[in-house]
């Protein structure tokens, strides 16, 4: 039965390969890819519930018991993220059906989305650092293709920078892996954690941990995010939404995993550094979100702010704040996808991308306007919506541990998020309409339905916080007590 946990990786790859051969049949490709994503979401719900009853599940490939073989480990944190990623991808696919265009669909758009998801899910599930690198590369190579697909000039221009930055980040990842392997002689994450705890985290290991911090910060957009706004604003809407929802989150996941499981001994050095980086990320991200008038750039800088906010939870490092970060991470995947889809749809409807050039969309498209208001409230953390629980818990954790500076930055950033989005709202949604009745483009059902679905998701995540709190508490418990994870992986065959 443990074989189930390999499916979130294997299924998209297999289906993606099949779809390559179904190139001319666009409708079939759409149906198969959507069914696959929903299927993976269903499977991850099953695994998530099994984790609650049986504890952390692991799968040793080829029967090689850890620490010798490679393995997949499914704990609540990983499975929550797999579930969210699959749902968001399914919804973005629905948007892609009506917005991406036949040219993309015939150039293997769906297979590459599935490969991207395979890489993302693999990164969440793997229990081995080198496999984390491999899954990162699977994800990145698919993302390179998705950024460039279409081949317009800005896309090619930004893609070059995006690819070079990521090649360099991967290089640093390998260097860090090599040093770590030379120091502790193993790559299994639980085993590394055990060895580090035995020998103590000396200066050498702390240096290696900082190398890992640099690598994952580059991927997550923590402080080293200068590549992010450019490359997230050029691809088509559905792709940008996928990127905004998934890619940085994998880096955040890796940061949480390594700095709660392996390098948790020198809190004063590594976690202070994370705190400083998160603080600067918030400040610079806020500046970016206010400074620009291009809606795509504003939205991209909002991704950066969210990254800073989530990592404040890690820097504070109490169980409460980590639980808050997990809540916020899940919320942010839905809300960022929604925000990107709204921004892209706005550009599709008006043909403009500067907020000064649009006005009064709510008169032509009332539902659309209210959905934008919903996501604004959700990202700012207005109570019944999903951002609230995460913000409250992170704040509570920060007060418990006395990190008042981070607390202040986190909540000021919420106000800036609210301001930057309200600015879009007032400029584009309210006001006199500039679209005359004849020029009005009909809102495609395929575009508004995914946005509404994400809106429902963010509302129900907020109202149903009680419902998922069991899973989140369990995930935070596993993260803040590394022995739970280590026992599950190293403690005999299950």
């Amino acid at each position: 039965m443990n074989n189930l946990i390999v499916l979130p990786l294997i299924l998209p790859i297999m289906v993606g390969i099949v779809l390559v051969f179904l190139r001319p049949y666009v409708k079939l490709q759409r149906a198969i890819s959507l069914i696959t994503m929903i299927g993976i979401a269903g499977i991850s719900v099953i695994i998530l519930n099994r984790v609650q009853t049986d504890g952390i599940i692991r799968l040793d490939f080829g029967g090689w018991e850890p620490p010798f073989g490679i393995l997949f480990v499914a704990d609540s944190f990983a499975m929550l993220l797999v579930l969210t990623a699959s749902l968001v991808t399914a919804i973005c696919l629905i948007h892609a059906f009506s917005s991406i265009g036949e040219r993309h669909e015939k150039m293997y758009f769906y297979p590459f989305v599935l490969f991207l998801v395979a890489g993302v899910n693999g990164s969440f599930l793997t229990g081995d650092l080198f496999n984390l690198f491999v899954c990162f590369e699977v994800m990145l190579l698919a993302s390179y293709v998705l950024v460039t697909l279409g081949g317009t000039k800005p896309q090619l221009r930004e893609a070059i920078k995006y690819v070079v930055i990521n090649i360099l980040a991967s290089w640093f990842f390998l260097v860090a892996l090599a040093y770590l392997y030379g120091t502790v002689g193993t790559l299994n994450m639980a085993h590394i954690s055990e060895r580090v705890a035995e020998e103590g985290q000396g200066p050498l290991l702390t240096t290696i941990s900082i190398l890992f911090l640099i690598v994952f910060s580059l991927k997550a957009g923590l402080l080293l995010f200068y590549w992010l706004p450019g490359s997230y604003s050029v691809p088509p809407t559905a792709v940008a939404a996928l990127f905004g929802a998934l890619l940085t989150k994998v880096g955040i996941y890796a940061l949480f995993r390594t700095f709660t499981l392996i390098f948790y001994h020198e809190l004063l050095i590594s976690h202070t550094l994370i705190g400083i980086m998160a603080g600067i990320t918030l400040i610079v991200g806020c500046m970016g979100a206010i400074a620009f008038k291009d809606i795509r750039l504003i939205v991209s800088y909002n991704v950066v702010i969210a990254v800073g906010f989530i990592l404040i939870g890690l820097a504070v490092g109490t169980e409460t704040s980590i639980a808050g970060s997990i809540y916020y991470l899940i919320h942010d995947m839905f809300a960022k996808a929604m925000l990107f889809l709204l921004a892209g749809t706005m550009i599709y409807l008006t043909g403009k991308s500067k907020i000064d050039e649009m006005s009064g969309l709510i008169r032509n498209y009332p539902l659309f306007g209210w959905m934008f208001f919903l996501v604004t409230c959700s990202l700012a953390g207005i109570p019944p919506l999903s951002g609230f629980v995460g913000k409250i818990l992170v704040g509570q954790g920060a007060i418990e541990s006395g990190s008042y500076v981070l607390l202040a930055l986190a909540f000021i950033s919420s106000i800036v998020v609210l301001y930057s989005l309200l600015r879009i709202f007032l400029n584009t949604i309210f006001g006199e309409t500039i679209i005359s009745f004849e020029e009005e483009k009909p809102m495609k059902m395929g575009m508004i339905i995914p946005i509404v679905l994400l809106g429902i998701a963010t509302v129900s995540l907020g109202l149903g916080a009680e419902f998922i709190s069991d899973y989140v508490t369990d995930a935070a418990h596993t993260l803040s007590n590394p022995s739970v994870y280590i026992d599950a992986v190293m403690g005999g065959n299950k």
């Binding site: 590369e137 190579l141 000039k153 221009r157 070059i160 690819v163 290089w171 040093y179 030379g182 790559l187």
Partner: protein, 112 residues
Amino acid sequence: METLIIMLIGILVAVATYLILSRNIIRIILGTAVFSHAVHLLILTMGNLKQGNVPLLKEADAPYTDALPQALILTAIVISFAVTAFILVLAYRTYQDVGTDDLDELRGAKDE
């Protein structure tokens, strides 16, 4: 032997850094290729160079040489092949469409 290889890695990284700091895309791609060679050697060295017999259990006498770094490098080489191939094609397409291979001209605030 380890010291020699580490020095070689240092030279490779220096060369690659020099290449990657230039403005020409092709030089940057060559730089990343040299970088990946350097890191493959680094993984090999960090896992200790040949210390004992081939790692065929029961066929040869202990101590065995660690075989894992070679498996890691093999995977890393395949990945760096794929990425290098991709970025070469990307650079070619960019050169065709944008008409330049100079990164300074690819900054692109002008036409937005």
